[in-house]
């Protein structure tokens, strides 16, 4: 593991949360998930890098987004997405985005202990954002 696991809402995510309260939001749900390799602590502390994975591997996948209950009814956004490795991967980073195309639009970032994948293996990510 290159550094401690952690998760943050990015600057872009903060703006997206506000946008999603509009009567007609301009940004889509952060249901799209991407995974990456080679994460560094330095990258995650830099605001400019907070909106993209260090090195994305595989295409982003549109997850199934729902509202679920953690404490108060309907207080939690959830997306579930499964990404399949097309080659051996050492995954240590992922993000929730609101678009499938490559771009700097990561709403929530996570770094974690290395997950080793062989070709054809998959990771099913479940991301929850609870509000209080």
């Amino acid at each position: 593991m290159p550094f401690g696991a952690g998760t943050v809402m990015t600057n872009y995510g903060k703006a997206s949360a506000a946008d999603r309260l509009l009567n007609t939001p301009t940004r889509s749900s952060p249901r799209v998930v991407g995974m990456g390799v080679g994460a560094t602590g330095a990258a995650r502390t830099a605001a400019a890098a907070d909106v993209a994975l260090s090195t994305q591997v595989e295409s982003r996948v549109t997850g199934a987004d729902t509202v679920v209950t953690t404490t108060v009814t309907g207080d939690t956004f959830q997306t579930v997405a499964t990404i399949t490795a097309t080659a051996a991967r050492v995954v240590d980073e992922a993000g929730a985005f609101n678009a499938t195309g490559a771009g700097s639009d990561m709403v929530v970032s996570a770094t974690f202990a290395v997950i080793n994948l062989a070709t054809g293996d998959s990771i099913q990510f479940t991301i929850k954002i609870q509000f209080t």
């Binding site: 696991a5 952690g6 998760t7 990015t10 062989a118 998959s122 099913q124 479940t126």
Partner: protein, 61 residues
């Protein structure tokens, strides 16, 4: 006067993962990354906050 301190905050962000091997075997890794505003014992590893998230989550130090 009504309470003027009510605020909306991110209470928690949780990432769970399940590895699905090519042969169909599933390995539930559970929570791989987590931030919890009210219960720091649930936080996974050292959570790194930039200035913006500190303001959003009202972390002063």
């Amino acid at each position: 006067m009504a309470d003027t301190h009510a605020q909306q905050e991110v209470e928690s962000i949780t990432w769970e993962a399940t590895v699905i091997r090519k042969d169909g075997t599933r390995e539930d890794l559970g929570v791989i990354a987590e931030y919890n505003r009210s219960d720091s014992t649930k936080n996974k590893g050292s959570v790194m906050f930039g200035d913006s998230i500190k303001k959003l989550l009202r972390i002063d130090s």
